[in-house]
Every structure is written in structure tokens, then in C-alpha cells.
Symmetry: C2
Subunit: 325 residues, 2 copies
Amino acid sequence: MRVFITDTTLRKGMQSASLELTYEKRKELFFLLSSTGIHELEVGVPAHSEEERDYIKYLARSQHGDKVIVWNRANIRDVEASLECSVKKLEIAIPVSDFMIKEKLNKDRDYIVRLLKEIIPYVKSKKLYLSVGFEDVSRADREFVIKLLECIREEGADRVRLSDTVGVLNPLQTNELVKTASSFLDVEVHFHNDFGMATANSITAFLSGAKYINASLLGLGERCGITPLEEVVFYLQLIQGVHTGINVKRLYEIVNYFIDMTNIHLAPNKPLIGKNAFTNKSSIHIDGLTKSKRTYLPFDPEVVGSKAALAFGLYSEKANKLCKK
Amino acid sequence: MRVFITDTTLRKGMQSASLELTYEKRKELFFLLSSTGIHELEVGVPAHSEEERDYIKYLARSQHGDKVIVWNRANIRDVEASLECSVKKLEIAIPVSDFMIKEKLNKDRDYIVRLLKEIIPYVKSKKLYLSVGFEDVSRADREFVIKLLECIREEGADRVRLSDTVGVLNPLQTNELVKTASSFLDVEVHFHNDFGMATANSITAFLSGAKYINASLLGLGERCGITPLEEVVFYLQLIQGVHTGINVKRLYEIVNYFIDMTNIHLAPNKPLIGKNAFTNKSSIHIDGLTKSKRTYLPFDPEVVGSKAALAFGLYSEKANKLCKK
């Protein structure tokens, strides 16, 4: 079993209120991430500006150019800006909930269908790989989603991206939605973390048939961000034994380098990366750890180049005693 | 449908490497949390020390004394220390994975069964409410878990606590495990966050039949912590429309007060609580938000006394324009 990880640190990550990176840093990060063996990188929005297109052209022509995918609104102008960059893969996003269609676009369902029927054949006529992103699919009418899945498959889209735009999906809903969608075409998932469920929804999606998981370093993105790349990769590889094609030790180094590069603030208990991620404190845990690391750790942190630690305080007489030895 | 939230900030939270609270602060927090309408608070470990017992006695005699539950290892000495505190509810924890039974206790499965058959009737003879915690249930043999569920039901335990001690369970496994366990007796879940899946596993557990969710403020606990109280409560109440008995606005105030009290470090994108939790930055999101708050927010943050915000940077010309107006 194989899963493909698609990184969006360079696009969605830039929407984090805490992060701004220069184009030079974005290029550096592109090559660092490529070196982990990651499948694909969503690097930006060609329609955004001339400068953005120059940067994308540079990446598209590089040795890892075939990993580049770019983001577009569902309109011909955006697609043309992408074509100008000579990329091989396109992502097109379109709102699919009635709420978004009405409140944001002031349109109706028929408009969405017409737009897709116009734009998909256009992209495919250019011999590009196309992922169609269903924005706000979690709040969308299920029958309409099925109608759209049929439509985009018929028009020749290569995959669908299910976006939980405001992070309200729970894993059982994810399971159902992904099972349905993957009976139509390849599924990618993009989950927001407004309630802290993005990683679990991504893992559930994979177990329910999704082939692609979209994520970003440390989960950076709008508001509470999205699925943290390192969490899904480490879980899939170290716990589920699923092949992601990514070198976890290299990824761990890059995450840590990225933290230094950006000076980003992390909680000490951030999974895998926070300074306390592998630190146990209670006597009972410490007692167990002296017998075997695996008692109170999900895996040996040395696998990724980190190490287990002990902390001291209330409930940790055992640690205190050990230290006095 | 009703769910019961059991807080363990005052016990498990104390095992966070980043936190130490005095007994005075723990008392203050007990009354603050009680005032939200929370069902139960796991306040400490009576066997730990004389000082710990004095503090627990004080809480047990207070007006919210019926919300108090205390943690014990599965041995008579621990239970006697709890009895001394005049509490009405007990939690007893016992390892159930072969790995823990062997590596930590150097015992076998029969020993676990014998211990439970000795201790449960003893506790029940004292007319106490008893929750039996299955430590490391996620790595345990399923048939043995079923045998133990039968055993503790027969001996009169009031509920079982399923503990994902090293945070390796995924939501589909949670779904299966909780469905099985809740066919035997009331289920409580206690999930660690080593891969960032504690909240989603807790929500899944509830949807699969669990009646009790154990959590702590900001998810404080050993290593990466456990299920964050505010995440499960807000999701259940604001998105699922499930009654938790908790006043979410009051809870939000208390979480913020707790952050000030402890000076704890949070990531800016911490769900619900981080300074960017309700901050959108990209033009497309900001454009949507000017039409309706719900386009790019899971709920109106004013419900909990917070508010939506905008940030500026790459991809946010729209925000810049709005500000110039």
C-alpha cells in the first residue's frame, strides 16, 4: 500500500498569519522538501503576480520540476497564468457548498457545473494533470457532491481534492465521504485544523481510500492551519508501516531547520517537534522507561534523530532518585 | 444525546513537563473548572503524599466534592490512601498490553485478572463509584481485552477507561474498540496526543458509544499531552450540537485565565485559543469574510467571547485594500 504526500507549505503555509517568506527562502525550501522524497509540492498561485510567476517558472524548470503543482481559482485567466509558467500539474479550486456558492460567489449550483464543464476540457486539451478542489465540501449537500464527482470524472479530471475548509469534519464523516468519492476517482484530502482534527482526518481518509494527503510543515496555514506534514508522515511510516516514499530522518532535520529559519513559535508539547514531545515526567512513566523505551513512547525517537528525555516535578520522585544515583 | 466530560488537568496536567502548580493554585483551578458545569474532575493521586491527601480531602468536602475522582494504581495500599480522603469516586489503572504487563510489571495476564478480582470487590464493598483504567489498551491483544471487560463487569466496576497511553490509535481503530467495549459497560476514553489525534479520537469515541471523555485544559499532560478539553467541548457543543453541560463562554474565559496564571507557551495557531485561531490572511478568504463570517470560520467566535481577525501579507491584497478604505 502506498500513499502520496503533497506538500503545500509554499502555498497554503504562506497564508499563516505568523509567516512570510521571501521568494529566495521559498526556493530553498522547495529543494529541501524535494530532497526528502516527497511526491508533490504546491508552490504558489501563478495568477497572483509577475514575481510569483517568475519564481514558479524557476521551480518548474529545475531538476524537481515534475513535482510542482500550482493553485488556481476556477477561471480561464488563472489557468492561463499557470500555462505561462510551463508547469505540468494544476489544482483548480471551486466552492461546492450552497453556503459558499451563494454567500461568496452569489451564484447557484448550475453555475458551478457549467464552469467545470468549460474549464476541465480546456486544461486537459493542454495535456496537463488536473486536480479539482472541492472547497467547503464538508458543508456541501451530498447529492450535489456526487453529481459533481460524476461530472469531473466525465470531463477528464485526474483527481478530486476534498477540502474541509473550516475544519468541521469528524473522522466518521471523513470515512464516509472519502469512501464515496474514491469510488469515482482518485482522492486527495486537504483538512483544516480548527478543532485539532486535521491529522486524524487525514489518516482516516487514507484508510478509507484516499491516495493523496495534502499537508504543510508544522501544519502552517490560515487560522489554525492544516494537516501537519510531519505528523501524517511519521504516523503512516512508523506506526502504520505504510510507504510514503519520504525519508523520515531527513524530514525531521528539515522541520527543525525550518523552525530555525522562520523563528516560528511552537508549543513545547507540539507532537514530534515540541521540546517536550518525547519527555516523560511522572514516576510511573519514568519507572517504565528505565525498563524499556517503548513503554511510554510510541516509537524510539532515535529513529528520527531525536531522543527521549525525563522531566522533574510533582509525581516524579523516581526521576529525582535516578538523577541522584 | 449527552456526553460527560471528565477533566484531568489537576492530575494528568501536572505531568506536563512545562507545568508545576502549587496546591493553592490547584484548588483555585478546581473551583473555576467546577463553575463551568463540568461533570467530574480527576484531582490527584492520594497515595502520592500526605500533602496531596490534605488537598484532596479539602476538595472532597467542598460544595463540588461530588465531582471529585482520584487516581490509583491497582493495589490495596493506593485504594486505602484514597479512602482516607473521603472521596466518592475512584479511578484504578492497570496495564493491559502484554508489552506493558511484561516489561513494566514483569508479570503475566493471569496476574492482571487476579488483581482485578481482588481489588474491584474491595472498592465496591466501600460503596464507591469505580472506573477501571485499561492502560495501553491500544497495543493490547483484543481477546484479552474482551476477557477483562467481562471480568470487570462481573466484579461490579461502574465503567472502563480506555487509555491510548502512547497515542498510536487511529480513529477507525477507536471506532471498533469503543463499539466493542461499550457493549460491556460504560466507556470513558483517555487519549494521548503523540501524533496529534487525541481530539479526533475522542470525538470518534463519543460517536461510537463512549459516554465519558477525559481531557485537560490545552491538552496538558505527559510528552505531547492528551485531549484538549476546550477542543472536544467546543466541537461537541458548537458543531455537533451535543449537550456537554458546560458553559462554553465561561470555559473560554477560564482557559484564557489559566494561560495568564501559568504563563504557558502556546503556538499562535493552537485551535480555538492561539492568537491566530480566528485570523484569516489570504485575499480569497478575506473577500469571503466580508460577505459572511461563516464562509471561512467554523463558527462565529463571538459565541465564546472572541472575535475574527485579518492578517496581511503575501496573497492578501484584498486585506490591504480594505484597510486603506
